[in-house]
């Protein structure tokens, strides 16, 4: 199995030029793969899958009563992001996160941006993701969005666009780290030769990010990860992150409130908790404030938070900037708070609440992607070009009934990248999710999750709908020719992974 006979179709390909030659930065990788003995790549793919299975790196499928666990499909051919591409992505992500953080802080405090008429007031305040409960909150150090996993896509021209911001509880980072650790064993030589930038220190960065927001005067805070429990689809990630940071992994039932402090039930008695990386959605966080029926959260935790006795990451209320109709205004948000042009563009978005846009959307349902403003993960979505008339009629009715709940975007010809499909290498569509930490400064992990739609021609990359993942190599400098000193060091290093 190799790259001979591989075609890019009419798509932008992450590794291969339209003339069928490897892109300069992917040259070494392609040559390495082509030089492998027959069946070797397939064997390595199988070995990687076995390793994932043995390590029990699985997710559970929602709606499956037996709690069936599946391996998140993994493709050993990495996706490459060049040093130049990364420089601009990194700047763009920092700019965007900084602006969105200012926006959220403004919305829950002075609402200047609404008063100045940059975004329609109704659009923001009518959002299901707007939490009146968060009005007046002042999170520690003014940071709301400590951990973000932004979804980026590339179109036919190779330009990156932001598709979704994911400012609440983005998942997937554990796969980034595990994919890397497996790929270092799968393609050690190619990895060593290409100087991909390391991602394994994410846990240290995350720990520092959380330590930064501890209540004043606490130098070594008690930090915990809060999970909904082992039946949550991302439980593996929650335990992985707790392990990476060496902090306890708690469930709501492990916590109680004493004198407006969050306390952990330990074998020693009660211990005060200072910082919580919570992987429970706002709705379930505190039944006294949000969803009254939640059994997952901690009753009274919001009061402790308001009093500054505990820090939460991410802060409650950040979903307001995740609303897909609000998303449409991010370019204006960046301009308003930073006075800058966005470095990474948005995908053009039609807000169905706007009568003119709605008419256009309804007339062009077969060409557009329609999304529910408050859903992610590929749920509540219509992909016009592959939809049936019945599906379009259903969405037309939904849009007319609740226009505020929908937006539409042109169907992008997502970029593709070579992927192992049975015994051949074929192009499959991908997106890219880098992870951003906002602590003392904004840090973008040089890597990320490349999700791949394994079904031929599919544009849906979500793991719940047949998507898989790949390792993403962000190259340090331009991939130079094999330098002996470098390569021997790198090979030694990779042996420890």
């Amino acid at each position: 199995m190799d790259f001979h006979g591989y075609t890019t179709g009419n798509f932008y390909d992450e590794l291969i030029n339209t003339d069928g030659e490897p892109r300069p930065d992917a040259q070494q990788l392609v040559e390495h793969i082509n030089a492998l003995p027959q069946h070797e790549l397939r064997n390595r793919q199988k070995a990687a899958e076995r390793a994932l299975h043995q390590q029990g790196i699985t997710f559970s499928v929602y709606g499956d009563k037996k709690g069936t666990e599946k391996i998140f499909p993994f493709d050993v051919l990495p996706r490459i992001i060049t040093s130049n591409e990364w420089t601009s992505l990194e700047l763009g992500m920092k700019q965007r996160i900084k602006a969105l953080n200012l926006f959220i802080d403004d919305i829950y405090n002075d609402q200047k941006i609404l008063k100045d008429g940059i975004i329609p007031k109704d659009l923001v305040l009518s959002s299901e993701c707007y939490s009146p409960e968060c009005q007046g909150l002042k999170p520690p150090k003014g940071i709301w969005i400590h951990i973000t996993g932004t979804d980026l896509v590339r179109d036919n021209s190779g330009e990156f666009y932001v598709l979704e911001d994911n400012l609440r509880c983005p998942s997937g980072i554990s796969y980034v780290l595990q994919n890397r650790s497996i790929l270092k064993r799968t393609l050690p030589k190619a990895f060593a030769a290409m100087h991909a930038r390391p991602v394994s220190d994410y846990g240290d960065h995350l720990y520092e990010t959380l330590r930064h927001i501890a209540p004043a005067g606490i130098d070594t805070p008690n930090i915990i990860v809060l999970t909904p429990g082992i039946y949550n689809s991302a439980y593996y990630e929650h335990s992985f992150l707790a392990q990476q940071m060496g902090v306890p992994l708690a469930q709501g039932s492990d916590l109680t409130i004493i004198d407006d402090h969050v306390m952990l039930r330990t074998t020693r008695g009660f211990e005060q908790v200072d910082v919580i990386y919570r992987r429970i959605d706002d709705d379930y966080l505190d039944p006294q404030v949000f969803n009254k029926d939640s059994l997952l959260g901690v009753p009274g935790i919001m009061e402790c938070y308001r009093k500054g006795n505990v820090a939460l990451a991410n802060a409650p209320g950040t979903g307001i900037a995740d609303d897909k109709a609000v998303y449409a205004y991010v370019p204006q948000i960046i301009q308003y708070y930073l006075g800058e042009e966005p470095i990474i563009n948005n995908v053009p978005t039609y807000i169905c609440d706007d009568a003119k846009a709605r008419d256009y959307v309804l007339a062009n349902l077969d060409k557009l992607v329609v999304k529910a403003v408050n859903l992610s993960g590929g749920y509540g979505m219509l992909i016009g070009p592959v939809s049936t008339p019945a599906e379009r009629a259903e969405f037309a009715a939904k849009i007319k009934a609740n226009p505020r709940d929908y937006i539409a975007q042109p169907t992008l010809a997502l970029s593709r990248t070579p992927t192992i499909i049975d015994d051949v290498i074929e192009g499959r569509h991908v997106d890219f999710r880098p992870y951003i930490l906002y602590g003392e400064s904004i840090f973008v992990l040089p890597g990320g999750l490349t999700r791949v739609a394994l079904t031929k021609d599919s544009l849906v990359v979500n793991s719940s709908q047949g998507g898989g993942s790949k390792d993403t190599w962000v190259l340090g400098e331009a991939a130079d020719t094999l330098n002996e000193t470098h390569s021997s060091q790198a090979t030694r290093g990779s042996g420890h992974a």
Binding site: H53, G56, H261, L264, T267, G269, E271
Partner: protein, 326 residues
């Protein structure tokens, strides 16, 4: 550490030990049967179920105590909460909830055992029962090595060890009971050739024959009983298990500096065993003595639960707020 986590690691360890011991039960029985006259083979499997204490459960779904039903009940019966399959599922479930506490190697070992047992459980018949039982033993031994060498010997490690030893003490006691049920020692049979062979099988099932021989040379009722209950050095002897569990408990209590009822219960148990001689045991009767041991084990287990795992809201003010990360 979290009370819930301590509970999970304790039970992870207990269930793994239980799975291993159920495998040993089956093992001892199949060894015994090979050396038996045909007439007694038929009555052979019932005592096994009696000794596990799951007789009611068995009778609700099976009609006869034949080999096929009994082995199925003890290995892959999903509804039997103490079958090897159920135990291993509990082990993995508990391990999942403490995955950030245990080492990756330990987790992968448990995961591999789970997949092994699941794979066998889906087959209609076990093609090689002995091999399967041996694989379960091997995985448990591997785990014992991993926990020894890949995990810091802190509080959580001691909870795991305590769980393993308490479970083991219980199962060694039950193993002795299997033999007791099987063949009530009477004047004629005690220490006959037949009896010697059977006690040998019991010793082999706890990997103890070789160590036993170094002390007593011949497999005799009295000596085997003494060895498996009172020996201070053999790792499956009840006395050894309780002394080591007590040592772990002492270290836990010392590091936590909290009031607890488990220490007292444990030390009473230790004294009870230290004061017993084989003559006392035989005078009371082995079965009765084992009953007493099991009562004491239950008390210790209850006290451990109350002292460390079940932390009540009202105790909030009893403990002083401590900032240290466990």
């Amino acid at each position: 550490m979290l009370s819930r986590t301590a509970n999970s690691i304790y039970w992870m360890s207990r269930y793994l030990e239980r799975a291993d011991n159920v495998a040993r039960f089956i093992d001892v029985n199949t060894r015994l049967i090979l050396d038996m006259g045909r007439a007694r083979q038929d009555a052979q499997w019932e005592p096994l179920v009696l000794a596990t204490g799951d007789e009611e459960e068995f009778k609700s779904r099976y009609t006869t105590f034949d080999e096929h039903s009994t082995v199925k009940f003890l290995t892959f019966d999903k509804e039997n909460p103490n079958s090897i399959l159920s135990c291993v599922q509990h082990v993995r479930e508990n391990a999942r909830t403490v995955r950030e506490i245990i080492s990756s190697e330990m987790w992968e070992n448990i995961n591999a055992l789970y997949h092994l047992v699941r794979k066998h459980s889906r087959k209609r018949e076990i093609d090689d029962l002995q091999k399967f039982l041996k694989q379960v033993h091997q995985a448990t031994h591997l785990f014992a090595g991993l926990i020894e060498n890949t995990m810091s010997h802190t509080e959580s490690w001691h909870f795991a060890r305590m769980g393993r030893l308490i479970e083991r003490a219980d199962k060694t006691a039950r193993m002795l009971d299997v033999k007791y049920f099987l063949l009530l020692p009477t004047g004629e049979t005690v220490d006959s050739l037949q009896d010697t062979v059977e006690w040998g099988a019991v010793l082999k099932s706890v990997s103890g024959f070789e160590m036993y021989r170094k002390q007593f040379h011949r497999a005799q009722y009295k000596n085997v009983t003494q060895f498996l209950i009172l020996d201070e050095d053999f790792p499956r002897a009840i006395n050894y298990c309780i002394n080591m569990a007590a040592r772990s408990l002492m270290i836990i209590v010392k590091s936590l500096e909290i009031e607890n009822t488990a220490s007292q219960a444990m030390s009473q148990f230790q004294k009870f065993l230290a004061g017993a001689t084989i003559e006392d045991i035989l005078a009371i009767g082995l079965h009765e003595f084992i009953d007493e041991i099991q009562l004491k084990l239950n008390t210790v287990d209850q006290c451990i639960y109350q002292s460390f795992f079940a932390l009540k809201e009202s105790e909030a003010t009893a403990h002083k707020v401590d900032k240290q990360v466990s």
